[in-house]
Symmetry: C2
Subunit: 359 residues, 2 copies
């Protein structure tokens, strides 16, 4: 473990990898400001548009900073990158820990790079701000990809909230696309609302599963199955193969219970072994089929527009609520009103009236 860590921090940004995210934003700011020759926004923009990984990494660090000056610089860069963004395929990958997400993503990434594409791998991990860990943090698992110049791997940003992490990831996607990455893979774990968040920023949403013993459907969050464009059963190798095939039948049955998707895409169940490197081509072909279909029926662009609108309204509404509930006077009165409601001295509607009149 000690060795692994040393290995990780020895890796350099120019190798397409950054050290695992620290949650201490001041520390980030210090690192950023301490470097003697800070590149200007324009230098970073030029670098990104040329596909320079160091410029890309530095710009993302600005996005993740809490320093107002850094954010201002980040916004200038994002604005300049916007016309060059929007040209990739964005793929979301979710699955519980242990399902082999990293191995799967590495196999998929290598497959796509062999097709002359450039892959950026990001993560949305709301737990990283609590555990101070991060999925994708252990980059040694993606050893082969790390060495490839056409791959860019970035661990999950940390943040006070999933909304904060989401914003940073959405903006990072823009920079990656401007840097020429045409395939964006976003990893997330099944924690709280993170899948919904990732689903709202990708074109194709893939649920990675294992063939377990017993009832395959037990304990699955139905909402996630409903969002999935594909369910891929990983580790379908050796002794597992038979169970994986049974699981495929079960999942196919489960998928048929849902109404037809707006995309008119029929979600597929597929087997793969990231270890044996089997079935990865099938998954990729499935994704390209989906992209062709939705670009033809114009759903692809409609969905991206909808996603943008969703993020605009989402941001507005969460900020409105945040500002309201963090107002000191409101906080005090809310407590009082909740007590009165519990004692049946007022109704929720009368209490809301009083609170809203205070702002």
């Amino acid at each position: 473990m000690q060795n692994q860590k040393k290995h990780k921090t020895a890796l350099h940004e120019k190798d397409g990898i950054v050290p695992p995210q620290t949650t201490d934003n001041e520390a980030i700011s210090k690192i950023v400001t301490k470097r003697r020759k800070q590149p200007s926004a324009q230098e970073l923009i030029d670098g990104i548009l040329k596909g320079n990984i160091t410029s890309l990494s530095r710009a993302i660090t600005l996005i993740e900073s809490k320093n107002a000056k850094h954010l201002e610089k980040a916004n200038t860069i994002i604005k300049a990158c916007l016309p060059h963004a929007n040209k990739s395929v964005r793929i979301g990958v979710t699955g519980v820990p242990g399902v082999g997400k990293s191995t799967f993503i590495e196999a998929l990434g290598k497959h796509v790079i062999a097709l002359n594409k450039k892959v950026a791998i990001l993560a949305v991990d709301p737990s990283s701000s609590i555990s101070k860990g991060s999925i994708l943090g252990d980059k040694t698992r993606m050893e082969d990809l790390v060495k490839t110049p056409n791959a860019f791997i970035r661990p999950s940003a940390s943040g006070d909230s999933l909304g904060g992490v989401a914003r940073k990831t959405r903006e990072t996607i823009i920079l990656c696309e401007a840097a020429g990455f045409d395939t964006i893979i976003i990893e997330t774990v099944g924690v709280g609302q993170s899948e919904t968040t990732v689903h709202s920023m990708v074109d194709f949403f893939l649920l990675l599963k294992l063939a377990g013993a017993g009832d395959e459907l037990q304990g699955i969050k139905r909402g996630i199955i409903e969002m999935a464009d594909a369910i891929v059963i990983n580790k379908a190798d050796g002794d597992n193969l038979k169970r994986a095939k049974l699981a495929k039948v079960e999942f196919n049955r489960a998928l048929h219970l849902y109404p037809e998707k707006e995309s008119s895409w029929t979600p597929k169940v597929s087997l793969c072994s990231a270890l044996d490197n089997t079935g990865i081509d099938t998954v990729w072909n499935m994704i390209t089929d989906y992209i062709s279909l939705t670009k033809n029926n114009s759903y692809f662009n409609e969905k991206r527009n909808e996603q943008n609108k969703f993020w605009l309204l989402q941001t507005i509404e969460s900020r409105l609520k945040h500002d309201f509930y963090n107002n000191t006077t409101i906080k005090k009165e809310l407590k009082e009103q909740l007590k009165r409601i519990e004692e049946a001295k007022t109704t929720p509607f009368a209490a809301a009236d009083i609170l809203l009149k205070m702002i």
Copy 2:
């Protein structure tokens, strides 16, 4: 049809029924104000607490009015009724049109009244404001109940939004309870978010189904099954009985896919025929079992507290959004920013920033 309408309007409030809701609020106001001797708030309160149906009906009409003076009067009445409310069992009944909700509710209502209880039947129908119709509008279907002094039937309030209808229904529940109704049944149809809304104001949520041909699970909104404390398969009579029994097996299997409920109640599937009046006692026993269980494990009160808190926050948040999006300056700028997002000239986050700084 013409005859039915005549029959309905001939019914009088003192019979425990009011004419179908009109969506024209000014018309309501006129009716209310035109009556020569308007009872005072105190008179209405006294009447309600004595169980007077006419007072109850009039007070509900005040809740449903848009006239500010009526609302003020309504609030005085609600406040006085609050200490006498909260003592009933609140049951939500949902199911698609044609499933026999009215017949089922009438049968259940009669069963409960025979046990010396008083039943109020309300409805939440978000479509009523659009179609100007209303479920529970056709009271001729509940002929027997209408004649019973221990039953009170009120069609869905109309409103600009589901939130508005919901508020009115929640406040109506308080008045009904204060008037001594110990069993509140709230009917809703599977339109949009209406089930979620009703679920958040009842103790027990019942999904009414039919045994159809083929796959019983096809096309069911999974979220509704997840909310259900019971699935009752109606019209389990004659030729239908065999299919109903098969459906029961299917639904039981579906229910087992969900994690245990917080109430520690295991949702049940039950058969009934509202027409033959079979199985209604089983349904009622199930409901009383649920109430005993949740009152013992204190979930009953916890849920009501949670519901109150939910309605407080819900009201605050919908009003915050409403006020923001209905601001003329915001409206104009939002349009502009959405255009800029679509043209990739800005990000949703930068646009939100600009909009929020305007207030």
